[in-house]
């Protein structure tokens, strides 16, 4: 391909060096909003806070393992809340545990998302008559995706994470994100 920067160029005519470079050197450039680009980066590398509380934690661990691999989605489980994007609340939320959950949520830096996994985290689950269970983690922290099941299958959790990825792109497209970086 010839790079011809042009002899007589005039701005406004479309044959300035910048235009030529753009047309000839970079034919495959894509333009997009920065928010969408960042959303693409964020959704492809979601680091989850390893926060398994009860039985759903075993299914969450199974999902990370080699049979239903979550690493191919870029999801890596990380113990420190300061370096995590998503908190998957897997298991029953007990009133004694409510304060640590709030502390962990506040320690996570923006942008952050929460997935409530299992029916106990959604609305109390089989323990809805209990004296010491918080009926759903959305009484404490805002939840983005609810994954029902008791416990949800690994495929269900993967679908939940994919729905979260779609939510991240849709929020960026609509630019109405409340915890955006702007």
């Amino acid at each position: 391909m010839e790079i011809n920067l042009g002899g007589n160029y005039e701005p406004g005519l479309g044959n300035t060096p910048a235009d030529s470079i753009f047309d000839k050197v970079l034919p495959n450039a894509v333009t997009c909003k920065s928010k969408e680009l960042f959303a693409l980066a964020r959704k492809s590398s979601l680091w989850t806070l390893s926060f398994g509380l009860a039985c759903c934690a075993i299914e969450m661990i199974s999902t990370h393992m080699s049979h239903h691999d979550l690493d191919r989605f870029g999801v890596v489980t990380w113990p420190s809340p300061r370096q995590a994007d998503v908190m998957i609340v897997a298991g029953t939320v007990v009133k004694k545990m409510a304060e640590p959950i709030k502390l962990l949520y506040e320690q996570m830096p923006d942008p952050k998302w929460v997935i409530a996994m299992g029916s106990c985290a959604t609305n109390g689950g089989p323990y809805y008559k209990s004296y010491s269970v918080v009926m759903g983690v959305d009484h404490l922290i805002p939840v983005d995706v609810y994954v029902p099941g008791c416990p949800p299958r690994p495929e269900a959790l993967m679908y939940g994470i994919m729905q979260l990825q779609e939510k991240i792109t849709k929020d960026a497209k609509e630019s109405g994100r409340k915890t955006s970086d702007s």
Binding site: L49, L53, M65, H67, G91, K96, M97, P100, S132
Partner: protein, 374 residues
């Protein structure tokens, strides 16, 4: 972290208080332990539990007997079938019910498969605690095989709700014999592979041999049971001392350790997996066709009375104390969880241990917070 003055130390040194909080990658669930350390040695430790206390025992008083089985599933959420079995056996003993033979064989086969799955999870998690990242993938590969068989038999991967009062819910599928034959072959190879990977590894031996030693009498005084007690040299297995179900018909060995350290607690479990495989093979050979549920009413109303049943769960002695007043809901259900008693030994084991060994010791006791807190 808080600094606290040690009153008995004449050198006027200070102890550091470190919190291994409820959210920690290696506390096996929501468990909190506060350590007072002097340099690298732990001076005092204080475990705090209750971060998963869901009130299951009180909830059982308001549910029918068949609904209580679903609550029991979620107690020891890694070996569910054993918990269901304990409760069903307690009710059947109160009612003096005779279970059909085929149901007993199905129960034993599934419980022993559950034992292997549980020990595979222990193997993987213990590898992670010690610092090895590979065993967990191998352990979970075997677990997935067992869970897919469970799915074909009971309908669910984890919370099965399959063992019912009077027998089991449904008969085995038609291809079960073929599947179990291939599964036992695969599991044999899998157990050998897992054993090969970790048990003779030099770093693993250095991290677990001679660490966290507990005496047999001390362990029994604390109420410790299961593989952790057998690693300290005491031969105590519920399947032998108080045989329940049809365990008397099988020929199996009980591995017993000698030193009582972390390595023995780990290796006893690896050997138990092999013994469980032999029980499964014998049971599949001996099983015959027949009914799978005794003649029971839809709503069970056991007679008035109380009973205490214990079963050998993969963690130890799982006991159920059931008090019935003749109605269709239990009057009081008390669960004696093995991890609850085993965890009391943690304070004793962590005295004068290194901080880096605390995770290894905690992992070797093999606790599940669902049954500790209930």
């Amino acid at each position: 972290m808080r600094i606290q003055k040690n009153p008995t130390d004449e050198t006027n040194s200070l102890d550091l208080m470190v919190n291994m909080g409820p959210q920690h990658p290696s506390t096996h669930g929501v468990f909190r332990v506060v350590l007072w350390i002097d340099g690298e040695r732990i001076v005092k430790s204080e475990p705090h539990i209750g971060y998963l206390h869901r009130g299951s025992e009180k909830l059982c008083e308001d549910e029918l007997y068949s609904q209580v089985i679903t609550l029991f599933d979620r107690l020891d959420y890694v070996s569910n079938l054993n918990c269901e079995l304990a409760f069903c056996m307690a009710t059947e003993k109160l009612m003096d019910l005779q279970i059909p033979d085929r149901a007993e064989y199905i129960r034993v086969i599934l419980c022993e498969l559950n034992r292997i799955a549980n020990h595979m999870l222990f193997y993987g998690a213990y590898g992670l605690d010690v610092g090895a990242m590979t065993p967990v993938l191998y352990g979970f590969r075997e677990r997935e095989r067992i869970q897919s068989l469970f799915e074909s038999v009971t309908g669910a991967r984890m919370m099965h709700n399959y063992i019912r009062i009077g027998g089991v819910k449904e008969d085995l599928p038609d291809n079960f014999e073929r599947r179990i034959a291939t599964l036992t072959e695969q599991l044999k190879r899998g157990i050998e592979e897992c054993d090969d990977l970790l048990s003779n590894n030099e770093m693993f031996l250095a991290r677990t041999k001679g660490i966290g030693i507990i005496n047999g009498e001390d362990a029994l005084d604390f109420g410790m049971t299961g593989p952790s007690l057998r690693a300290s040299g005491i031969l105590e297995d519920v399947r032998i001392s108080e045989p329940y179900s049809i365990y008397e018909r099988f020929n199996f060995g009980i591995p017993v350790g000698t030193a009582g350290d972390c390595y023995d607690r780990y290796y006893v479990r690896v050997e138990e997996m092999r013994q469980s495989l032999s029980i499964i093979e014998q049971a599949v050979q001996q099983m015959e066709k027949g009914p799978i549920l005794a003649n029971v009413r839809r709503i069970t109303r056991p007679p008035k009375g109380e009973v205490y049943i214990r079963t050998e769960s993969p963690r130890g002695d799982f006991g159920v104390y059931l008090v019935s007043d003749g109605s269709d809901k239990p009057y009081r259900v008390k669960v004696r969880a093995p991890s609850f008693a085993n965890l009391q030994t943690l304070q004793h084991l962590l005295r004068d241990a290194y901080v880096a060994d605390s995770v290894v010791i905690l992992g070797s006791i093999d606790i599940v917070l669902g049954e500790v807190d209930r």
